[in-house]
């Protein structure tokens, strides 16, 4: 089957910020996104180590959205601005999809 190259933007971010990130994605006109729960993690803020969900604030979520390569910059710039002040990371990777018009 023919597939088409797209980009997958992935964001791991502290839970309180989830709604903000999703609103941003809505605003940036992505075709959709998926949010996965996160069990544990560690980063430069070190505090969220292992069961380190201190008082539940420390939980994280992982959000990913599949977009056309041409849209990546548009999405990633405001996203990065938002997330860089918070606890979280952003990555981009390549994926292939079957129905290009869907994304």
């Amino acid at each position: 089957m023919e597939t088409f190259a797209k980009k997958r933007i992935e964001i791991v971010v502290e839970s309180p910020l989830m709604t903000r990130v999703l609103t941003l994605l809505d605003g940036a006109g992505v075709s959709g996104y998926t949010v996965l729960p996160v069990l544990a993690g560690r980063g430069k803020d070190g505090a969220w180590h292992r069961d380190g969900v201190v008082g539940r604030t420390g939980t994280m979520v992982m959000i990913f959205t599949i977009v056309d390569a041409s849209k990546v910059d548009e999405v990633i710039e405001p996203l990065f601005k938002l997330v860089s002040r918070q606890i979280g990371i952003v990555t981009v990777s390549a994926v292939d999809v079957l129905r290009p018009e869907q994304f």
């Binding site: 502290e14 709604t19 903000r20 505090a47 180590h49 380190g52 201190v54 604030t57 939980t59």
Partner: protein, 341 residues
């Protein structure tokens, strides 16, 4: 009962012992843990129960000006404490102003579990209290956050003219600029306030008949659920402490121990002004002394992301909460007894 007797009874209550079990388990690095969904379910249950019982009690004894007075006093107290706390922190620590403001917010706001624990001790000791104190508790959650954000903002200006203060955290250009209407709405309507106040109102509407119909759910098993919940609190507090040891300097640890006492005294004054009963006074003091570790951290992550949760969460949850649960509450009840009438 003397304060010593009260403290001894409290320390040997199942409630406190289960909390200690949680601490011990973490300390021994056991993998004991309570699923987040279960902990969340228990927390909803506890707030529903306490709200409903408060409302039903108001329905039974009627409402008068005291309810309104006590809510206003609560709002003011919650706004005042952070200012005091902030000034102290600036003097005794070298924390950036954002962190100081963030910590201050926690002490102005309240811990509903500490409140619950105090109610249990009052119940056991047979001391009555005003049902509307639940509403006062809810009212005290938010003002502290707003005041603290304002403190942080003023801090940001200072930080600009005084770079040295900014070291240790990225005290930024935009600090304090994020308390928009949306964030305020989120904070004021956070789940715990809504279920607490909602259940309070439902309790007030359905009264004793309503309470009776669901008492086997919200009254009888309450204390047992609280024990299991406190086990989880012990586990979380213990883990938080271990993770954050390195951030907790001695001045901060001490602050976590004497600040509740300052809050207690301010709470006592407020309660006195409102003319509450001994039980009501004890609860007001407890509210003044207790520090938030759920609503405030969540709000600050949105509104003050520069402040470091690795400092403010363990202070509130790892130091002040255990102190209040074990020694604080008996002390506050004794205080109330002493100053009553």
């Amino acid at each position: 009962m003397s304060v010593v007797e009260l403290a001894a009874t409290n320390l040997l209550s199942p409630m406190v012992l289960f909390f200690v079990l949680g601490l011990v388990a973490t300390w021994a690095r056991s993998d004991l843990n309570i699923p987040e969904a279960v902990a969340k379910g228990m927390s909803l249950y506890l707030m529903l129960a306490i709200g409903f019982k408060g409302g039903a009690s108001v329905a039974a004894y009627g409402v008068d000006g005291q309810l309104v007075l006590s809510i206003i006093a609560g709002l003011l107290l919650s706004a005042l404490i952070p200012i005091v706390a902030f000034q102290i922190l600036l003097r005794v620590t070298s924390l950036p102003r954002v962190d100081a403001a963030a910590i201050a917010a926690h002490y102005g706001s309240i811990s509903i579990v500490t409140f619950l624990a105090a109610i249990q001790v009052l119940d056991t000791a047979g001391i009555r209290y005003e049902g509307f104190m639940v509403a006062t508790a809810a009212a005290m959650e938010v003002p502290a956050i707003i005041v603290a954000l304002w403190l942080a903002k003023s801090g940001s200006i200072t930080a600009d003219s005084n770079g040295a203060l900014g070291s240790g955290a990225n005290v930024g250009v935009e600090v304090g600029s994020r308390l928009d209407a949306e964030t305020l709405r989120e904070v004021a309507l956070n789940g715990s306030i809504v279920i607490l106040v909602g259940s309070f109102v439902i309790g007030a509407i359905t009264g004793q008949a309503g309470l009776k119909s669901i008492a086997p759910f919200i009254v009888d098993p309450f204390k047992g659920v609280l024990c299991l919940f406190l086990l989880d609190m012990g586990l979380i507090a213990g883990r938080g402490l271990r993770e954050s040891r390195k951030y907790l300097t001695l001045p901060l640890v001490l602050f976590g121990l004497y600040m509740p006492l300052i809050g207690a005294v301010l709470g006592l004054a407020a309660a006195k002004l409102c003319g509450l009963s001994v039980g009501g006074m004890a609860l007001f003091i407890t509210l003044g002394a207790s520090a938030s570790y759920i609503a405030v951290p969540a709000a600050l992550r949105l509104a003050l992301p520069e402040a470091r949760p690795s400092i403010y969460v363990p202070m509130s949850l790892g130091i002040t909460f255990p102190f209040n649960l074990t020694l604080g509450i008996p002390l506050y009840i004794s205080l109330a007894t002493l100053f009553a009438r």
